[in-house]
Symmetry: none
Subunit: 200 residues, 4 copies
């Protein structure tokens, strides 16, 4: 029943893109509930009405932004690996790079990250998108790892553990915790987990 349409003219496509880009950024920065559609339209140099020709509703804009940018925000480590196969020898270095990259990215997009997490809890559709992202991230990463009957589960755990560690370090900051140690312990566990996957 919603009557949205796809832009055909080049200039229209740009407008739709602008709504997503600027709207998503705005919502991430200020919080979904603190940004109105008029705000978005104004910021994107577009009329309010136009928004409802390209999107069903406000959430739809956020969802579109999520589809485009969530993976980059949530799983920055993906961009690290090229074709390089992971071996017992190079893994420690790669893992540390992954952590560093994740820390950097999360620090930069702290607000976006929080907003994405919050929204994914509120809306089921968004939550599905997140799951998909997570799965894609796993699949992508998988390519660089050696074969093993349960390599998929292991990589998934790896992603979770890295993510967790970074959250711990960036957001929580309980005084009295030795985060240095926590990182080393996490690394140790991950390496232990993968120990039986290396060929030979």
């Amino acid at each position: 029943m919603p009557n949205i349409r796809e832009p055909i003219k080049e200039s229209s496509k740009e407008k739709k893109q602008r709504i997503i880009d600027i709207g998503f950024k705005l919502m991430c920065d200020k919080g979904y509930h603190n940004v109105s559609c008029v705000d978005i339209a104004t910021a994107a140099h577009v009329s309010t009405g136009l928004i409802y020709q390209y999107f069903n509703d406000k959430l739809d804009i956020f969802t579109s932004g999520t589809k485009l940018y969530a993976q980059k925000i949530m799983f920055p480590m993906l961009e690290l690996l090229g074709n390089e196969k992971i071996t017992r020898e190079n893994f420690d270095k790669i893992l540390r790079e992954m952590i560093k990259k994740t820390l950097d990215a999360h620090t930069l997009t702290k607000n976006a990250h929080k907003e994405l997490m919050s929204m994914s809890c509120l809306d089921n559709h968004l939550f599905q998108i997140f799951n998909l992202n997570e799965e894609e991230a796993t699949e992508k990463l998988l390519l660089n790892f050696p074969h093993h009957p349960h390599i998929k589960e292991k990589v998934h755990l790896l992603i979770n553990m890295v993510d967790n560690l970074c959250h711990e370090i960036i957001y929580h900051q309980h005084p009295g915790y030795d985060y240095e140690y926590m990182q080393e312990e996490t690394i140790k566990l991950i390496e232990y987990m993968l120990e039986d996957t290396y060929e030979n």
Copy 2:
């Protein structure tokens, strides 16, 4: 500026409690943003005005509920251990019970859990409460574990890993994953992590 007061009469105390209990439940079930103060007042059989005599605003009710119930919802494993000291021998059993308990609790309070997570991302004050809860949970659990220079960090990781595993199992449910294996792998890692802490 906010002019809230504390109930003195017993019947008033009950009313305030009712507002917290019923309001918090309502917000967890339907989502914070989908419940109005009038809804809460109605459900708690109380006038709208009274809410504003006991609370600053809607968020204040949610926060009060969080303080009271978040620990039970988020860290159900705490209620498991009595005085029993953890040893190399009994840990496997205990850990499996922890996971089971967490799974059960999260399943029951799925919505509350999501809403709490979402809100903690949105409001800094709530986030602080969560951090505190997490810390308290760690401290409490700590008492049952053997001494070790970094036992605190280890227990914290343990909590995170259990929590993560349960999320994975309950919320994500990617098809094609062997969650049984994932659980065993997590258990193996945790036990490995604690291996060097047991006395003797």
Copy 3:
């Protein structure tokens, strides 16, 4: 922060004007505090929301009305004089016309007058507008009077005395006062005050 906009279309301009006109009248008639924004919207055949697109709040409407109509209400005598220079010979007649005009106007807009006075005491911004109006009235009147080093102060006193007299007559109505005499006395004083300003 307040995100008000200016109407562009002609029909929109009319709506904004209607809000001011009808709203201001309503508030003057029933009293500022006895009229809600919904009342104004209804009376102006406009939605509540529209009010907040053109005005910051209720007071803003009243202020707008004040800017437009206060001078006419408070200093009706201004409209009397054309280019006619005041002389010792014509002044008595003119002064009596001023008084008559002021009496008539105040009688017509009794409520508005009271409300304006009341509000100007409550809100500093409004008070400033009134001061400005008063000053403008003085300046305007000044043009018709002969030069004199302190003609400005004299004209200001003149305005005040006329205003006062009219208040006395219209609002107070103490029994036992000879208002006829009071008027003549006031006229005598004013004429005496201006005696030394006439050329030659």
Copy 4:
């Protein structure tokens, strides 16, 4: 139909008085509409309910305060004259003292004054009280003046003119006005007005 009663016990009388005194001061300081009945009760160390045993409503408190204190606030000049009869010789000095006294008093009670004026415009009953006060002030002052068929009207004008001058000086402060001159002009006019009233 309102069911208010008079306090009988001494301690009750004090309470009622406290409500008037503290309530009236509060309303004058912060503005009638910015003070709630709960505020008044709290400040007067009295329960909310008690207010409605001694007063019909909120306005009633303000009215009571007005009856008690308005004259002192609005016509401070009254306290100046004892039995001293006014003569051509001493009047200039007395008039200047009146002006000074009025200026001082108004400066001290600027807010109260504004609030009283504002309220008297809004409520007819209050307006009547003000009129009465004004009349009483005239009558009182009258005793010190020589007899004259229209001395009443003259004294009334005198009061008005002094009041007006003081308003002008305290509240308006238009730049570019010579208030010194305005005062002297006012004095000159008043003295001129009274010239024909002195005996002999």
